[in-house]
Symmetry: C2
């Protein structure tokens, strides 16, 4: 093992910081970062490819269980000072354990869609917490996959963190072109359903969902674009109480996924 | 109208900041703060008692519609400098409109519960975003009221903001003692249901909810305390996919409320 790294100028520390802050860097290097014992433990258990594990002096003892699962022939272990851990952390109270991880290979949508599957398509969702929460909920509820199109980056630290490990378990297609997604659904005869706030759309309470279908969820403020709604097979809605403004996008997605599966 | 306030040391500015940051101050003065045009517009429309309205020079023109609804005999209008607006704002890009608002009178639970109603009780919820999102969703879904017990403060700026105005529309009982809440439910013959992660509890998918019932949602990390679960009439659960760790507390609450009403 190398000596303890204390410098901000260390190559690996600089790499970690660039990957944490820049989508461009992530896609240039096909790498992203993880922080926290539980998330890194999930990553290891689910077979994600870690290239570097950064642990503060304080955290070495506390994370023996995580560290004992790591194959040091494949993963480079780096001990950093506690001060440096605080500096690179995105949380208020860091656990002092970080990793750099290889992005998985991107799945080809048409080849990997399950004909009898149920999918959620996120179009122009901008809030990382919402995207993460939808992925986590999709995993819990048993959805077959999540597709991201023009939404915030799957590999941003905030999205990764808020998936609570579901990012390692769920089939996810990221950075997809919406027209290609709709064509692939069409080819596989998967019904596409636009989630809208519109009294004339089918109420999810009464609608009989097909065995295979994909629900589109739109932007937090503006919903789905009209041309996207028109390209979908049908529109569905959550009938709401009184004259209030719709549910939060993640909550709406969660309730629709629940109805889809139950 | 007074001259433009530019000083951090102004009495009203100091009051605003104390109310924004301290629960103790809020309850000592029975006041809380609001920020943003939409939220303040909702507050006015729903009849909340504003005592002060603080608007930056920039924001006066933009918020003519909001300002035109204000009775200046009752509300003190204060114009502040744009710089001061940025300083007191809790958001990254402030709209420059703020208010100080009187807390509503606290409702007596036993006297105000609707015998045929459906309620959500939040016990030891610590995340303001979760509490706000549950209140917003309860409003959208048509729940009769939300009760807070040992949870984060309803009148904290983060909770208020994430309710998206539902705080002015929903019956909410805050800062309640859990034993008194359970007794009141009992007296009114409202069935109490503990939401748990437990395969032996009733699945919400199959459970036939009473016309009148109250669901208890527990802490984000630890769920409900065992003694609270035992004091409830029944336990209910969301059956989940595989060996993953439950849904986010707000999402779980949303799905349960949806099942409760549908």
């Amino acid at each position: 093992m190398e000596s303890i790294i204390i410098s901000n100028d260390n190559t690996i520390i600089k790499l970690y910081r660039r990957l944490a802050s820049s989508k461009k860097e992530r896609y240039a290097l096909n790498k992203y970062v993880l922080e926290g014992a539980r998330l890194i433990d999930d990553a290891i258990k689910e077979g994600a490819n870690l290239s570097h594990l950064l642990v503060t002096e304080f955290a070495v003892d506390k994370n023996k269980d995580v560290l004992s699962q790591v194959d040091l022939k494949k993963v480079r272990l780096i001990i950093i000072s506690n001060e440096l851990g605080i500096k690179i952390s995105a949380t208020e109270k860091t656990q002092g354990i970080f990793a750099i991880c290889d992005m998985p290979s991107k799945l080809l949508l048409a080849e990997t869609l399950n004909k009898g599957g149920k999918y959620v398509i996120l179009h122009k969702l901008q809030d990382p917490g919402n995207v993460g929460m939808i992925i986590r909920s999709a995993d819990a509820i048993g959805i077959d996959g999540v597709i991201l199109s023009e939404s915030c980056d799957l590999f941003s630290p905030k999205v990764i963190r808020s998936t609570m490990g579901s990012v390692f378990r769920m089939p996810i297609w990221w950075d997809m072109d919406i027209d290609k997604v709709l064509s692939a659904m069409n080819e596989q005869e998967i019904e596409t359903l636009a989630a809208v706030v519109d009294g004339d759309a089918y109420s999810i309470k009464d609608y009989k969902f097909n065995e295979n279908c994909a629900v589109l969820i739109g932007n937090e403020g503006n919903g789905l674009d009209l041309d996207i709604i028109q390209k979908c097979d049908k529109s569905i809605t959550i009938k709401m109480n009184g004259n209030i403004n719709s549910l939060n996008a993640a909550m709406a997605a969660g309730i629709i996924m629940w109805e889809l599966m139950n």
